[in-house]
Subunit: 501 residues, 2 copies
């Protein structure tokens, strides 16, 4: 026995078992096997030793204990190059196992078909992973094959190396064994957590465009808008992002506020004494863009507001709640998606996105706009109303794509210049968007980053802007401050830049 | 022995061992232990049985085989409620193990400190995970404790339930055991793959804004722009995204082309007979916005082009390569980042991003603009030049944020209306951006989605637009086609909408 080599084979998946046994025989590697694997091997007229004959300990407890024997593990684990180990191994007088060919009970596929807990527990393989792990640990000497798909590579490696395997091959297979056991135990851990759902990726109709397939993978520690949905058609990829943009924006406000989102940008935001008025104001800020938008409200929807909403075309309404009468009203618009707000929507503190070559992770921009961070540069006594508008504009501006310019009057956006490649264009655009009947009114302005030159201040002044909240940091800061003073436009300088892309 | 209960204790971390043993003794649970754990227990004058005395198989191979014994596993795994199992178990005459208290060799912390492979391999625990997995599998009867932090909870559970644990507690601990073994094997698998690097997340200076911390996690199967960098300051969060936007856009073009990106949007794109001309044309499309932008070129940079580049302020130049003389020229601008293009930049086929409650995954929009997909509606014979401009405009439009309108003349953008909440604003903006000296020239237009009304066609016609490439799908399609025919503006209808956010 001393100079013989043995392979321990114990497989659930019996595919190509004959092939692998024939291969081993070709190189005079003898086979030791267990229960059903041995039966299958013998069926093919291939000689094999029963593990229980060798250990003299028979399989017990319906196969729950087959291979967990110290002599087997001594044989797999002893260091071939260490004298002391060698001596111990010779003393126990046991076949030298150099090959471990094992595949596991298919726990993952069983749990998806089977709801019976006891049967699932039975499918948790104890002996198999231990054999794989032991073989892989001692990969310097042991070849561990955990996947029937690797039989061919294994045969080829034996063939090319006179019946031995290369260290490199054994190492690769060892890595695969540990990646198999980790994946196996991950499934079990998830199953215990009742987290089978984690594999249940939700297929979306499509991604940003119909030609792009898309999935949503829920994180079960949080809530997604899917869980808040109480009516309407299927939530799409773009809906997820628009809802997120709206929820992030509404979270800046405490008093009754309405945010209307279109293509990830707010197109109308307003606060008021009642949610009904806030909706009306937000809608009027840019009624054209609002068409097909997403409405986010930080109060509940009453019947009257519901009736107003039904007069327009929106894709989604998100609100703290919907009164029964409002629900009745809205139920006629069957496609309109209604989502009940949940504080768990706002649980994520990080943002993650793939980019070329990897993944970018950043802290969400949770910094609050605070009046104490504003450095007022002007001559008049600042009124509460102006300050409120300034704060309101800065809050909205944080959620508009850069370059962003937001014009505000009475806690209502009257011109949003979004997503521009130059700040001048953002400014021109915002001014262009002021509704006709407000063209001669005074307003305040927020900019998400500093003005590089005085041109925008000039433009804003000409359009009746009375004050601007803007980060400092330009090399032209001094020039800009002096110019603003000269034309009597007040500045509220902040150190916080708020880019958003 | 029959009515006694036993706990098998084998811990690497000996913290609070005395406490747990005292607790077990309180409820008359006897202790079975191994090597160093037993020594430590006895030091505290607590009685414990040596596992090797019970199995009559002594620890061998420097502790490599201690607990892998069939009788131990029979004791842990037999189903207490099954008569046949009970009978088998009684026959082997072995203590009844109801508690498994095990913690593992600290593989993860060892590998970070230790570079010696043999020593790391020694730290792969084989017996420990097997005990935990077996105990957890039979959690209906067995309590498995794998973390010293759970000792207190365990003691409390015993206290509250007269020396027994609740099923719920055992299940929680079972789940924790499997999550521990999965995590353990994941570390081993990564170590084998030499993937310690995966933990080497790259800290970025900050995220989108200075108040947001950010990381980049490289995917080692791909290349990131970091790996293409040959000069310049640290690559920031926004640089990653702008570079990606530019590279995605340039990939649409074969002839010499230059794309200039600002705030994730192209602000100038041009193709020409030489890369130098393409750069000049792209820059002139919107020289104001180009300031501080990212230039992407699909050819190598020669000395003359390098000289031109140094006359302006850009953050990054990405090109196929840089000739030595060009590098010399550019080296004076020390902060300017130079990146050599790598085809592995374009390997990702999926996009991933976190959103409220989970992660969105979508196929990248890799659909190519193809002239065969265009349905021409007009009366004249279409010239190559017009068709080329139409294709050029559609390609650029795919990479402009929605709503997007792109105006093109001679393979050069002359007006980009990006990121608007209404298509009218995108159109107005694009027209507004036409450079003064081109105000009376003819041009073509691309729209990323259908026109809802005729107003934009009217606007475009008035500004000398001769043809438009636009997706169909509006309920007003017929009206729009008829109107276009009437005002003699040609339409190239496509079925592909290209939203981008």
């Amino acid at each position: 026995m001393k100079n013989k080599r043995f392979a321990l084979i114990s497989t659930y998946n019996k595919e190509n078992l004959k092939f692998i046994c024939k291969t081993l025989n070709k190189y005079k590697i003898e086979i030791i096997s267990t229960g059903s694997t041995a039966v299958e091997i013998k069926k093919n007229n291939i000689k094999c030793h029963l593990i229980s004959d060798i250990t003299r300990f028979k399989e017990i407890l319906d196969g729950r204990v087959k291979t967990l024997h110290p002599k087997i593990y001594a044989s797999i684990l002893y260091k071939r190059e260490e004298k002391k180990h060698l001596k111990t191994f010779n003393e126990i007088n046991f076949p030298k196992i150099d090959f471990v060919i094992v595949n596991l009970y298919p726990f993952k596929s069983i749990i998806t078909k089977n709801k019976d807990e006891a049967e699932c527990l039975d499918m948790i393989d104890i002996g198999g992973p231990t054999l794989l792990r032991a073989g892989a640990k001692n990969y310097k000497s042991i070849t561990t094959i955990c996947d029937t798909k690797d039989y061919k590579k294994f045969a080829q490696n034996l063939y090319l190396n006179n019946g031995k395997t290369t260290l490199n091959f054994r190492k690769k297979m060892a890595q695969k064994s540990f990646s198999t056991t980790f994946d196996y135990d991950l499934s079990i851990s998830n199953w215990f957590k009742n987290k089978k759902k984690i594999d249940k990726r939700i297929k979306l109709k499509y991604g940003e465009n119909p030609n792009q397939k898309a999935l949503f993978v829920p994180n079960h520690k949080e809530k997604s808008i899917l869980e808040g949905k109480i009516q309407g058609k299927e939530i799409g990829y773009n809906n997820f992002l628009d809802a997120e943009a709206g929820l992030n924006c509404i979270n800046e406000f405490i008093e009754p506020t309405c945010v209307i989102i279109k293509h990830n940008n707010p197109c109308g935001v307003a606060s008021s004494s009642s949610i009904n008025l806030a909706f009306e104001k937000a809608l009027n800020s840019d009624s054209e863009s609002s068409f097909g938008g997403i409405v986010v409200l930080n109060r509940s929807v009453n019947a009257k507001l519901a009736k107003e909403i039904t007069k327009h075309f929106f894709e989604i309404i998100i609100a703290n709640n919907f009164y029964t009468k409002a629900l009745n009203e809205l139920s006629f618009k069957k496609k309109l998606i209604l989502i009940k707000y949940n504080t768990l929507f706002m649980k994520q503190k990080k943002e993650l996105r793939s980019t070329i070559g990897g993944i970018l992770i950043q802290k969400k921009n949770l910094l609050k706009v605070n009046k104490n961070d504003l450095n007022y540069i002007g001559n008049k006594k600042v009124g509460t109303k102006e300050l409120n508008d300034i704060i309101f504009a800065a809050k909205v501006c944080k959620h508009v794509k850069s370059n962003a310019i937001v014009l505000v009057k009475n806690k209502k956006t009257i011109g949003i210049g979004a997503g521009q490649m130059s700040r001048s264009d953002a400014t021109k655009l915002a001014i262009l968007k002021i509704p006709k009947k407000l063209k001669s009114s005074k307003f305040v302005c927020a900019s998400d980053a500093f003005f590089p030159f005085i041109d925008n201040i000039k433009r804003l002044k000409k359009s009746n802007c009375k004050s601007i909240v803007v980060p400092f940091g330009s090399i032209n800061d001094e020039k800009i401050i002096n110019y603003a003073k000269k034309v009597k436009i007040d500045l509220y300088l902040t150190k916080y830049r708020f880019f958003k892309h």
